[in-house]
Amino acid sequence: MKDINDARENPFFRRQELIGLLIFAALILVVFPAFLDTFRLNLVGKYLTYAFVTVGLVICWGYGGILSLGQGIFFGLGGYCMAMFLKLEASSVANTKIQSTPGIPDFMDWNQLTALPWFWKPFHSLPASVIAVIVVPTAFAFVIGAAMFKRRVGGVYFAIITQAVALILSILIVGQQGYTGGINGITDLRTLLGWDIRTDHAKFILYFVNCLLLLGAILLTQYVTKSKLGRILVAMREKEDRVRFSGYSVADFKIFAFCFAAALSAVGGAMFTLQVGFMSPSFVGITPSIEMVIYTAVGGRMSILGSVYGALIVNFAKTTLSESFPELWLFGLGALFIAVVLVIPDGLAGMLSHYIAPYLGKLKPASDAVNGKSPLNQTPAE
């Protein structure tokens, strides 16, 4: 009976989950920095910015059953908000005195703009920019979510609409190059409040900042999944009407899940800009958005840490394969989409809890027997 009482206890971490998190923290905070050179570490840091998106998708898609094919929108908006600040700092009058209009970003000057557009002005201030990183994408998600969910639009329709919005935004950014930098994006970012972000030292520091933010995001998401809200999302995914007629406003919970995922994605985007040094529309459109979904699917749509490993593994494979066999990569990625959906809908984490956890359970019968049949490890029957 002890196990059962433990299960009803609903602890913030089960033992297995805690061990998993500690191993992950040790991996990114100690092992990677110790064994990888700055270039590779920076690459890992870049992959880890996608993990913000995948963690958000665990809540939105895994728990809530809301498939967004437009997470690149929020990743991109967060990244662009950060890039706009850095670009303005790099475009001081002293740096740009050869331009016909000094003090504005170079691409504006090339496109015959003579003054900074109004929506760029707040990005002179770092606090305003940091707030914008979170608020702009979340507010945008709120508008989309409220419009759709209040009218009971979901499932495939919602996925199509998010995809259409991702397409619109990426075409818009490419088309309006005077205001956005166009297809090249916002490049040549140099300093953050005078601190040069291009040096190895800065990249090292930024890697750790990114890791700590990610661990924070994981803890926050863990809190959400362990709260009653996490269980309501699962319940909604299964029997939306039952939840509605148990006194909940289903739309509000969906909006929350979507906004939560958007906010996390935006933080990832901002950290991407800081670590990689640019932001471009190629992270906004349809293709990156749907790829981020597959990271989550590979890792496990119901597993926070699983989804993070999914982002790491798929991107590692992508970098390795597309360097040496670019043709194989696209084919392999396509096959991966199909294989995950057909063969391991619960992802790697699902396989782990299916095949390995019961084995561990035999070794330590007292501890985690409950975990193997944890109600939240199952894929929804949509």
Partner: protein
């Protein structure tokens, strides 16, 4: 933006852009018909639909090359062979995909989207390996070249009129198939009540496979039409997929008339806007309009009130 043109010029612009829009309308409509048949009847989204269209386009290209090499005398008529071949190739691939993939995912529409997206990536890579990354174009037979001089300032290309006529024929054919034939009756029976349809002896699996194959085959024909107005490349299909989805959703997925009307509205507004701004901004403006309307009226423009 109208200020620089005279009224007569504006009229000609609208007519000619309107006609250019009709070709876009043809491609959208054929794409959307296939998608709508699959989505409306089975609730499955085929993200690889654009690649089925491109398969049809490549088939058309191959046929034109074959005719050029072996039967130059018959070149004038190659297009009809190409169309049939395009339909058969896409439909056969569709049936295969339905058997291997889609039939295993019927209760999971969202996962179907992901799997068919994967399929589209694989097909793109196959096209790139087989046909090369560069875009290819077909040579039109001479009788399709040139245009019809309607008035002094209005010229209408003949291939465009041909594509239009073709589209109309196919649409009418689909309507007859769906609403008049015994097979269409079976399809609708399966949609309304799968279990009952199975119980009265309809082979629901076969109906599903044939429906999916038909939708893909129509996409193949859309590919044939597409070769007349654009050049064929491995990723060309992807550019049309979102627009085609929106055509289907905007029209209200169950309604043939709705699909036609929404394909018309979307292609016309895009084509007309294109003259006054850049092509991409015309696309953006149209898409934004559609998305906003869908947010206000998610059931689409032509759906009737249904019992929830």
């Amino acid at each position: 933006m109208f200020g620089d043109y005279t009224l007569g010029q504006l009229g000609s612009i609208f007519v000619m852009q309107g006609f250019a829009g009709l070709i876009l309308f043809s491609v959208f409509l054929l794409m959307a018909l296939g998608l709508a048949i699959i989505f409306g009847q089975m609730g499955v989204i085929n993200m690889a639909h654009g690649e089925f269209m491109i398969l049809g386009a490549y088939m058309t290209y191959l046929t034109s090359k074959l005719f050029e090499a072996w039967a130059p005398g018959l070149l004038a008529g190659y297009f009809f062979f190409a169309m049939i071949l395009a339909f058969l190739a896409s439909a056969a691939l569709g049936a295969l995909v339905e058997w291997a993939l889609i039939s295993r995912l019927y209760k999971r529409p969202l996962d179907t989207m992901l799997a068919t997206w994967g399929l589209s990536l694989m097909l793109q890579q196959v096209y790139r390996s087989v046909f090369g990354a560069r875009e290819v174009g077909v040579d039109l037979p001479p009788w399709m070249l040139g245009s019809w001089q309607a008035t002094d300032s209005i010229e209408i290309p003949i291939n465009g009129m041909f594509v239009m006529a073709l589209t109309l024929l196919i649409t009418i054919g689909v309507a007859i198939l769906m609403y008049k034939s015994r097979w269409g009756q079976q399809v609708r029976a399966v949609v309304q009540n799968r279990v009952m349809a199975g119980a009265v002896g309809i082979n629901t699996e076969r109906v599903d496979r044939a429906t999916f194959a038909l939708g893909c085959g129509i996409a193949g024909v859309a590919g044939s039409a597409f070769t007349m107005v654009g050049s064929t490349g491995p990723t060309a299909g992807q550019l049309y997929i979102v627009d085609s989805f929106l055509v289907v959703v905007f029209g209200g997925a169950q309604s043939l008339i709705g699909t036609i009307a929404s394909a018309f509205t979307i292609s016309q507004s895009r084509s007309t806007l294109e003259f006054f701004t850049s092509g991409s901004m015309a696309q953006v403006a149209t898409l934004i309009g559609v998305v906003i309307i869908l947010m206000i009226r998610p059931q689409g423009l032509f759906a009737t009130k249904v019992r929830r």
